[in-house]
Symmetry: C2
Subunit: 316 residues, 2 copies
Amino acid sequence: MPEADTAPAPFRRLAVVGLGLIGSSIARAARHYGAVETIVAIDRDATVLDRVRALGLADEVTDDLAAGVAQADLVILCVPVGAAGEVAKAMAGHLKPGAVVSDVGSVKVAVAAAVAPHLDPGIDFVPAHPVAGTEYSGPDAGFSTLFSGRWCILTPLPEGEPEAVARVQAFWETIGAIVECMTPEHHDLVLAITSHVPHLIAYNIVGTAADLEEVTQSEVIKFSAGGFRDFTRIAASDPTMWRDVFLANKDAVLEMLGRFNEDLSALQRAIRWGDGDALHALFTRTRAIRRGIVAVGQETAEPDFGRGRTREPDPS
Amino acid sequence: MPEADTAPAPFRRLAVVGLGLIGSSIARAARHYGAVETIVAIDRDATVLDRVRALGLADEVTDDLAAGVAQADLVILCVPVGAAGEVAKAMAGHLKPGAVVSDVGSVKVAVAAAVAPHLDPGIDFVPAHPVAGTEYSGPDAGFSTLFSGRWCILTPLPEGEPEAVARVQAFWETIGAIVECMTPEHHDLVLAITSHVPHLIAYNIVGTAADLEEVTQSEVIKFSAGGFRDFTRIAASDPTMWRDVFLANKDAVLEMLGRFNEDLSALQRAIRWGDGDALHALFTRTRAIRRGIVAVGQETAEPDFGRGRTREPDPS
């Protein structure tokens, strides 16, 4: 059975550090899909741990990082990217030889630089980023199918063990994700335009609307169906996570923001000068990108965006 | 029966000019809710008229504007705002005395200025704007519950007949909308921030992403789940309609865009200087607005945004 011989060995004991939306979804998905034998939930917040226990998301629940990761085969850091280095430092020396450490951060260059130096030789670090989420936070917000059909990007380090990468890839595929590998630098550029700048812009316009004197907040809220409400959904995402993303991916975000601003100036000028042809040309071109997204299956053509499927009964 | 005495007289014969997403939804809703006795569909595009016939959306279907509006009690212009004046001019003199003309334009000052001068005395013009829509266009995209629980803003002219306003209000309420009145000037400011600038920004960032050299279009499409895909949905809206909106509401859009740009510069500076507190403060504040929108019922807290309900079986 050549396939069985070459298949990467699954992880037996998984430790999830940080049980927010992503961490709790990984715990739920790992159990739902039978990806591991034992799940350890680690969080320093007692309220979070109480919810994790009440929801029955893990086999072991602890606020003791060193003890929690001690016997783990795979440790996934699900903390804001600004906290990843600190957590790595605190668990250094407590990991067992051959353990694999991964993460879920939306920024990869800065996280790799913060985490890797703390890990002993013999510990493999495979940075990962599941491109999935909702605007909700905390252990109650997670669900086992969050990663289903979504991309998970791995950004293996040059010195990384290919076998560890293959095992992490197999873990993500088991819980439903589609895996792609790229360099950390390229990841940070791609995500700057597909995620970080869109979030920044959404936060910004919601703030602008809140400060208007001529238009009341109540009016903004009432008439948000005109397009604004999609921005408020994005701008309701976790503030700490996003603060860390912008600080950690500063260069790529400022680069993409610069391009966005140049393009917006041109559009502003077209409006001021009544250049309807320029506006129409851009608006026609952007339709094609939407069609591409629907075609590639990251979205459906249904008005509910395919979001309805996230509400299937969650077995965990 | 005092209520029957004071209730505004319903319209018997409705003419819808322009059978796109909004016009076809009005036709479907008017029939579904029994708002009128007879529906006339008028469009200059033969392909659209063929679809209207095939879908059975109206009692009479014609490309002859003058004949179509001749006996109507209520004429609703559902054309791009840049075309409203031209249509009003073409139907002037063909309307019957006492007829009421309305529209659905996303801009009210410019439309009122373009339409009103063409209407004879004895014809009432009641500008309206249903704040509802999807990113789809054309007669197949409409559905009868599009306006259900959504706001419809009326911007009566100073010389407008209160009785005509009351009848138009009753029409919209019959097809499920909630009606609010305001001045055309205030409408244009409110919609500039809740709809027009959000659309402009969405179009802009989708264009920026399409032009990148370092990140391929295929990558943008694949990893859009990080936030970008919500912008692509908005940026897939009808190009002609939106070109006209920006040209017709130039002053309010440029005013709101100026504020947006000032705020974005401050945010850009906070990122450049690593001011995490400023970022966190803004990101926390914007969450409250989202909660307001969910609380007021223009949105639900469900991950599908309440969009699922637009897929209920359409009886028309």
